[in-house]
Structure formats: C-alpha cells, structure tokens
Symmetry: D2
Subunit: 369 residues, 4 copies
C-alpha cells in the first residue's frame, strides 16, 4: 500500500478485516510506503503492516508483492499505477483515476495490457460496494424500475463554509485538478451511470467559486477550483440526470443523495443513512403504494451474509472491506477482464468531468461525449 493518510487508514482497515469477514484467500499486509520515514514507520506500527518503506519503486520490484494499493494524491496515480501494472502486479487505485485525461489514457493503456495478462486493474469507487447501492443496482438491472427517465444525484459537504478556512492543495487547480466536481461530483456521476447502467452522451455544466480567495502561507491566495458545481446529463438509455455538488452546503456532512425515477418504480438513497434503501414499486395497488424503507442488513442482501445479524447496521468503512473482498475474489477466480469499476471506467468518468468544465467554459453549451 502506498499512502497512509485518510484513505490509507480506511484501506488498512479493509485489508485487516476482509479475511475475518469473508471466505477469501489470505492476504498479508506486507509493506506500507510513504515519503516521510518516521511517519510511515509509525503508520506501519499503528495500522498493522509488516514493513514500511519510502521508495515505492523498490517495493514494486519485490517478488513477494502481489497487489499494489494506491492511496496517494491523484497526481501520483499514473506513474505508480503504470509501473505496478508493468511489474505484473494487481492494482487497486483510489479515485480519481488521474488529474488529467492524458495521464488517464496512459493508465488505461497499461491496464488493458495488464488485463490481457490476467492482472486486475481496479478503481476505488468504493460506494459501489455499499450494500444498499449494490441492492439498488440489482433492482434496476432486474427491471424493477422499468425504463429510467430521470435521475438526481447531489453530494453536499460543508467543510468550506467558513471563509477563514485556509488555502490547501485541494483548492489549487494544478494539484487538485478540480474542486467539488472532481472530488465528490465524480462519485455522484459514477453512481448515476452505474445504477442506471447508462453512459453519458452529452453534458451541460456550471461551476462556481463562491469564496474566491483564501488565506495562504504568504497572504491571500486565489482559489482556482470550484466550491460548487451543477450539471445536467443526457444518458444513452434516454434518461436525464442532474448533479449538484458543494463544499459550502452548511450542515451537510457527507451527503450523497441519489434518486432514480423509472416508469415502474423509483429509488432513493442517502449516504448519511447508508443502511437504508427506499424503493417504490409503482405496479403495486395504488392504495398501498409508497417508498419502502429497506433496512439493508438481511443475509439476502449483497455482502451481508459476511457481516452481522439483521438490524446490526454497517458503517462507512465496511464498503472498503467489501471492495477488498471483490478484488481478492476477482484475482482468485481470474476475473480480471470483467472486474468493475476499472481504469477504463475511470477514464470515461474523467471525460464527463472534463465535459462539465468545458461546458461551463463555453457558457453552458452542450458538450457531446
């Protein structure tokens, strides 16, 4: 594993737990890699890795490493992922795939070659492994919503409400690529496409930077990414999607909300209550219709057989363990070719994000994909 910050901690918890929860091949937490020797040594100790290292290239070259889990900031993804794939490793790369499309294209190329050799190149859109969203996907795939007409996804946070919050690398275009759009809008758009099973064909978008300057180390500095973004999507199955994301939505902590409206049903989900899926079956008798709150904790639900009894709910972190399970199973069963989401999904998504930005730059014009 490369990186030991927020995502590194979450992934460590997953690797630590996956074998106890699921029937999967054993996996050893061999080496954790970071630039700061002392910090990575402490992380190895705390998070339970056998060794630590500061040079990822050396680690990738080792024979006793099978999987490389990339939890670094986005601008390092391409170099590491391509090297790891070329070294014959399976790779799990956190989203976003890369900071720009050129990098992403190179990564996909390396991944396609690796896939042909049986290596999995997985992308960390972990929310696909939230059981309620996995169930949502099943219900759509089973046709329970009929034909989907309209989808709404919003992802609202509030950590930038305070104008006095200081400048960070996340607010500079050169390090972060984009703002709320890339960071959390990517999840919203991935869910729209994943849940509907439809691809985006055209986009209109708008970006806004509501607090244009923030205090940097050397005085006020320009914020060069969006605080909030809006988009409408045309999907290839005929549905329309809308997206709204924000980092200044006061009181919204981690509020990914998704609504799907079809001809025969509808679905609602909200990440702050991740064990609930709300399902409408509009083919039921009218007097009994309404959204059903499914508490997604039954053994019949995706991933749940591995966890606790009914009603003993899961938290945010469990989706990472589910993801680790899927990756280990795909490796064991030789499913590199079909594992999703993969790098190509990441590139496709990157292109949608780019189209939103391009549309905003073109005064809202439709950008085809």
């Amino acid at each position: 594993m490369i990186g030991y910050a927020f995502m590194g901690r979450a992934h460590s918890q997953a690797w630590r737990t996956v074998g106890a929860a699921f029937d999967v091949p054993e996996v050893a937490r061999r080496v954790i890699v970071g630039r700061d020797e002392q910090a990575v040594a402490e992380a190895a100790q705390q998070l339970g890795w056998q060794e630590h290292a500061t040079d990822w290239r050396e680690v990738i070259a080792r024979d006793d490493i099978d999987i490389v889990d990339i939890c670094t900031p986005g601008f390092l993804h391409a170099e590491i992922a391509i090297a790891a794939l070329e070294a014959g490793k399976h790779v799990l790369c956190e989203k976003p795939l890369a900071n720009d499309t050129a990098e992403a294209e190179a990564m996909v190329e390396a991944a396609e070659a690796a896939k042909a050799r049986g290596q999995v190149a997985a992308l960390g859109f972990t929310y696909r492994r939230v059981p309620a969203l996995a169930l949502a996907r099943q219900l759509v795939a089973d046709g329970r919503l009929g034909s989907i007409r309209q989808v709404r996804a919003s992802y609202l946070q509030d950590w930038l409400v305070d104008e006095d919050a200081p400048m960070t690398w996340r607010l500079r275009k050169e390090t972060a690529g984009s703002g709320a759009l890339g960071d959390i809008g990517s999840h919203a758009i991935d869910q729209i496409q994943h849940l509907t099973g439809q691809r985006t064909t055209a986009v209109r978008g708008r970006l806004a930077t509501m607090i244009p300057q923030r205090q940097g180390e050397d005085g006020m500095e320009q914020v060069t990414v969006d605080d909030a973004a809006w988009a409408t999507l045309e999907l290839d199955g005929g549905a329309f999607g809308s997206v709204e994301v924000s980092r200044v939505a006061n009181g919204a902590k981690n509020q990914l909300r998704i609504e799907l409206f079809g001809t025969e049903g509808a679905l609602r989900f909200e990440l702050e209550n991740p064990n609930e899926l709300w399902f409408l079956d509009s083919t039921a008798p009218i007097a009994e219709q309404g959204f059903t709150r499914i508490l997604v904790t039954e053994p019949e639900h995706p991933y749940l057989e591995a966890w606790w009894p009914q009603g003993h709910v899961l938290g945010w972190e469990n989706a990472f363990t589910n993801q680790a399970r899927d990756l280990l199973v795909a490796i064991r069963d030789g499913e590199a070719a079909t594992y999703a989401p993969d790098f190509a999904d990441g590139l496709a998504l990157q292109r949608v994000l780019d189209a939103v930005i391009a549309s905003d730059a073109a005064d809202g014009a439709t950008i085809p994909l």
Copy 2:
C-alpha cells in the same frame, strides 16, 4: 351545537365544510348554545351560526333542530344527550362519553331506545376518521397483517411540563374524571380496539402524578388526577396491547403513535404526520421488505375523493369534516343501528379506563373485564 370552545370551533369548521367537500344532505347551522350570552353571540357571529341561545333545553325542544352536537365539558354530556335523544334528535357527543360509569350506562340505555327509533347516537372518537387510520383499519380487516400479536399505543403531550403552570379544572378528579388517561389515553385505547377489531378482556395499569401540587387561585392545591399513565391490555383475539400517556413528555405536542405487529405484517402511525401510514407486508420477498410510507392522499384512500389532488395533504381538522359526513350519511341512509363509534363503544371504553384505575389502586393487579 352546545359549546363553543376548542371543540365547538372544530365542529363548526366541519359543519361549515361538509357540504362543499362531500355529497351529503344539506345541513344548516341553526343554533349555537352557551351559558354566557355575550360570548355565545360572538361565537355565533364568528363561527357562522344563524342563531345563538343560552338554554339548551329550549333549543332541544325546537322542531327545526334535527341534530344535537354536544361539545361541552364531559360532566354535562349525560344530561344533555339523554334529553336530546328523548326529544327525538340525532346526537353527536364529544368523547369522553361521561365522567363516570353510572352516567354512561344511562346514556347507553337512552341511545339504545333512540336507535330503535332510527336516531343516530354518535360518539366523537374523531381520529377514526383520519384517512390514514381508516386505511389502517381496512388493511387489518382485509387480513393484511395476519393475526395480530402485539400493539403499542402512546399519546404524549407536554403542556404540563412546567411546574408553574396553574391549577385548572382538568387537574381535579371531580371535574375531569381522570387526567391524561381519560383525556388522551381514551384515544389510544379506542384505536387499539378499533384497529385490531378486538376487545379488552383484562387490564393492568399504573398512574402517576409527577407534579402533585399546583398553584390555584387560593394557594397551592392538590392535583388529584394522573399526569401520566401506563397499561397493558389482554385482547380477546389473543393480542397484547400496551399504552403510555403523558402530559409531561417534553417536546411531544400531540403525539399519538400506534404500532401494530401481526404475523404477516405491521403498521405504524403518528398523529403529528397524519397523512402517512407505514405498512409492512412481511409476505413480500425478504430483500425488498420494509415499512412502506403510504402518503394517504390518493382518491383510492378513505375519504380522499372528496378532498384535494394527490400529495395535497390534509390537516387535523379535516377528520371532523369526515366525521360530519359519516353522520349525515348514516342519518340519510337509516344506518342508526350500525353507526360506530356509538354510546355503547364509549361505555365499553370507560370500563377499560376504570379498570386501569382500579388496577393501579390494587397495586397493579389484573382487572378482568
């Protein structure tokens, strides 16, 4: 109509509206009666009654009066209702039927004789006319819950939280009969019996007076009724019921909550969101099970065809109009014999309330009915 306070206002709104909402015989708001001439004159003016009067006996004797609507405090119910029934009028009497069982028995006797003459003797358990609760009754009657095992009803309010709230007639046993138990517990128990279609066969109860003294006009005075009450009921269909009521439940404004658990389904209702009924069908596939929020505003729902389009919700007052409709239809169609709830229902309920009080007095012993 006799009485022009809170209930008088609610009933006036019903009589004023029923003909516009429903296809019922015309009803004129002829006379409103009260003891204070000036106040009742103002009420007649404001609430839209043709005349006002101070002597209910004279009004009852009039030929142009068909229906007597009794909205006075409970201790006046018996005398007026019996006189009105004997005068050949249809009667709608607010709950509780009477302040003690002897009075209630006399009322039932008068009502049975009147019924035989085709007069309706109706009791104002208005919440049976809340569409969501009427739908709940239908679902139970249709067997959608299977056999009912357990029922919970609570009715919590908070208007006595403040220890400095002054003494009132509602807190004296001689004027009020009982406290939270009779006032709001009666609704909870009526719903338990009505929704399950089962009668109470035995009771255990407890009463508590948490603030034992309050400031009266002449110094501190003893509170002689309950602030809160609890009971468990055995029902003749084999179900168990629990009741909890309170006037000191801080933050609960008018919180009647009901839950029914059967072998094949369950129901939930809360009066602060009166347009919602939550229904579980446990015969559905497990992966899709859960409580469905039915927004009870469809034309297919009880009473709703008369009101507004879907999603245009009703308020607390509309149940009174629905009640007026049912009464007018029962009179028109000669359904005096089957109209419910009637005085006998009120007496049966009074006996359950008495049993709760008797059980508490007997240190919690079971009181059979």
Copy 3:
C-alpha cells in the same frame, strides 16, 4: 370569484373559513362565475355562494362586489384582471400571472394605476402563506442564516409517468404557456427569491420533453411543453440557486422541496410535510449542532394563533385561508402599496421563466435579467 374548478374549490374553502379563523372584516361570498350555467349553478350551491353568473363583465360592473378572485386558466387572467382593476375592484389573481410577458406587462400597468387608487392587486403564490415557509422567511430576514450562498428547490410530481395518459390543454404550448416549468417551477423560483430576499440576475436552463407524443382525440399529438426542467440562477445577493421540476418523477406526489445554505445556518422544507421546518443554527456548539425539526404549530408561529392548539397540524388548504386573511387585512388597513406578492412580482417571475426557456433555446447560454 371567477372559476370553480380545483382552485375555485380551494379559494371557496378559504373565503368560507377566513372569518371563523381570523379577526377580519366580514366578507360575503356573493357571486361565482363560470361559462357553463348548470355547472356553475351547482358549484354555487355546493361551495356556498349566494349567486352564480355566466358573464364576468356584468359581475365586475356590480357595486356590491369589492373583490374579484380570478381562478380561471392563465390565458384569461389578463383580460379579467385588467377589467376588474379598472372597475375599481381589489383583485386576487391565481398564478401564473399570464401566459406571456406582453399580457403580464399590461396587467402590471393596470395594477400600478389601481394601487395608486388604494386597490390591492394580489397574486396567488399561496405557498408563501404556508406557516413553515413564512417562518423560514422570518428566520432569513432576521439574519439567522447569515449570508446565503446556495439554494436548492425542486418540485416533483408524477402524474405524467404513464405514457398512456392522454393529451390535455396543459400539454399544449398555446394554451398552457409552458409545462412543468411554468406550472410548478414558478412556485420553486418564487420561493427561492422570496425566501432569500434576492432577485435573479442571470439564468441557465434546460427543458426536456420525455414523452414527446400523447394520445389526443384525433390520434397521436405532439406534446409542445416540457415534462421536466432544470435551471441554475445567479441571485443579486451573491447566492446561487438550482431548480429541478418534473411531472414524471414516479412516487413524487406534490413534492416541493427547498434547501437554503447560509454562512451561519441552513433551512429545509418539504411540502408533503408542510408543518415541519428544519433549521440549522451553525453558530451553536458543534457537539449539539444539527437540523432542528420545528413543528410549526405554536401560537408564536406565523398565522398559527388563529388555528388549533400545538401539534394539531394544518393541511394544504389552510394556506389559502391565510392568504384570504392577508388580503382582507391589507384592504382594511390600506396596504395596497406594500402587499406582496403583487402583479409586478408575477411579471418579474415570468421573466425568469422566459429566461429559462430562452437559455434552453440558446443551448444553455446564460441569459441575463
């Protein structure tokens, strides 16, 4: 009152009730007007009007008429309203003000002249009179949200989900003006502007007609209005707004939802639970922060002193009675000059709707206002 369909019934209920609920000048329901003599006669009888008529011009000419309440389809508003204002009457006109801007401008001109003579020219954006939304407006005006940055409003319905639902005048541009945008989007945008106290300065919009043809009386017919619409707004106080409306959102019955995010707080409202307002005070201690569910039924809340005790909730219809109260008070107190919303508000809103349509026609380009 002119018109006796859905809105006519709702307004009749308001006029019937306003004097019983509020301390206002007496108002007689003198004449109801409609084109079909028999139907309007029945409506007069059922809804409680003294007379009926088929010629609105004659009625407007009568001296015993003080207020003209226009509940007709939108394309008749201009002619009637202007005539009524010129005849010296106070006017309450249902929204939308008019079907096109030219008409609306003429109406505003007539209204300005009438205002100068002390006549009220009121527009029926009734949701401003929902107590929870009136409270929301107060909280914003009192600065409890700080500076507002982001607003979201959606209004979703589902009555056109069914592809086999037939063609109606509401789906033809020439009779309806626009589709979901004008019908329900107008409410969403009015709330955004009203609650924030900010005006729209620029718009980007998108329209979609998902079911392009419907069965008419003479075969399949083209639907020429939108089934769904999206817009982003720039507001003159610096906030950004988003709007999404739909008639094909399965399971959404009458779902107007509004969220406001400010620097010091936030608000949430949903019309299917109209008695609840959710308020975040982000200046409170962090450990105790969150959205507070205010049950807007206290005497301290707007309009509530006139209604029922705490926790006895109101329904959709009560806002119309509140509106009637405000209108009668404005007339009594000579507040024609300040009554809101007035025709000018309707014209301003119409221009925002037009800008949304223009933006969509210009491939999403920003339309300044």
Copy 4:
C-alpha cells in the same frame, strides 16, 4: 478470548482494530478457546488469533495472558470469570452477567477482591459505547435535560414471529434464564439507569409467551421463557421508566429505542440509526424549538476523534472497538476501581430483571428493590 460465535466475532473485530483506531497499549490476540477443536482452530485462523485451545483453565493459568474476554453463553460466565479474576487477570464478560442471582453475587465478590488488586472486571453493556448514547449521557450529566421525569425504552425484534421457527436453548428457562427480558430488556433497562444516572427502586412487570410451543428435536416442546415483556420502573431520582421488549414485533430488526423527557429538554435514540441523537432544548425560544438531529460524527463527539471524518458514519461493530479502548485505557491508567459498567452493575441489573419476573408472578404487584 473464550467463545467464538457471534459475540466472539464481534469482539475479535474490536481487538483487531483498537490499536489502529486509538492510541492504546499494544494488545496481542494470543489464544482463542472453544470446546470443539476443529471449529476453534478454524476460528483462530479466520479471526486472526495466534493460538487456539480447548481448555480454558490451562489458558487462564498462562503468564502471557493478561485479559480474559468471556463470550460464552451466560451459564458459563460465573465459573470462568471467577477463575480468571482469581488468576489475576483482567476480565471482560459479556452480558448478562450470569443466569441467576446467586452466581452473580459470587462474581461480584470475586470482582471486588480483584479490583482491590487493580484488576478490571468489566461487563459488556457495549451500547454504552455507541457514541450517540455516550453523548446522550453527557448531555444528561451536564444538566441539559433539567430534572428527568419520564423515560421510555423499547427493544423490539422479530426473529420469533414465525410460529414454525424451531425450539432452541434460548427458549428454555434452564439454559437462557429468561427470554426477551434478559436478552434485550437488559440493554433497555441498563440504558434507562445509565442515561438517567438513576437506580430503580421499584418495579411492576408483565411477561407473555405468545407462541407457547415450538417444534423441538423430539416433537413439540414447551417454550418456558417470555416472547415479550413490559415493565414500569420507579427511579430513585423521581423519574418513571417504561420498558417494552419483544421478539415477535414484525419488521423490527434490532430496534432499541430510548426517549428521555426532562424539565428542560428531551432526547431520542434508535439503534437502527445509531449515528443520530435527537435532542430537544426546551429553554430555546419557542418558535425555534424542536428535536435537533445531531449526526454524531464530529471530532467533538465521544470516541469520534479516532474514527473517520464528519458524516462518515459508524456501524454497530464500532462500539465494541470503543469498549476495547476503554478497557485498555482503564488497565493502563489503573482505573479498575471506577471502570463502569462492572460486575456490580450487572448484579444490580439482574435484580431489576428478577423483580420484573417476580412482579409478573405476583399478578403485577410492585416489587421494591
């Protein structure tokens, strides 16, 4: 650790995770003990224990064992816990403390002696470590509710709704002690006492066995424990408590609900949404009052600094890790004397449960404590 079933898995997850989440002394998962050699060997492998064993006495005798974690069925608790304490080990014992009071008393005696030697004797009422409930305790202790008057706790499950579910040891008095009362009622009563900081002084109770027979291995067998139970409690601070528990509440999966009503505020919690605490401050201005949904995921909240960023919610299992943290800290800091809940708490609770049973046996009579 002794035992490797449901609780063994949950505790293993806690020991595996505690060092990564919290700054605590290192703890090695040394030995897991069970009677079935093959099964415990597999459990050791899957759950990540260094060794396995079948004789708990041998393990307790080892010098390299510091903590004994007892996850066996209740009837084995006393023997193991007393032996472990006498061997100088710290002990964490799952609830219920014991199956009868005599055993529990012996355990408390051993624990008191051990405490004097600095050993922690901890009882696993893990829900005290749910952050939202820990916050609730803080708010009460800080006086934010004023004086508490009324408490309601219910714990409803539905795994025995099906009459055809077979007989198990949990339904026999001799192996399980009691039914829903002891299993889940113990949690409800522990929370009532813990959150209020008040002890029970008197009890009235009722038990019911709704499905009196179930299919055993040798034909139909009598169910000798309760399916549901109800109780009212008098608390030494003057509050009244009510308890309702059930295993036949259709649709309730793991529904522990708690409500506390005080003179200055109120609290609500529900275990199926364990990250939410609802708090009413009734000293706030009336127009802004209501229950605030606190999403208990801020660094300012109990235990949360160790976990994920705001809005990234925890699941049921995390409370076990919090419990492991508290135990390790208590050992490190020499807080054996004050650690809670301890065995004495378990005994006190057992006496309340016994009083409920005794009350039911005495036809509902009040049982003092």
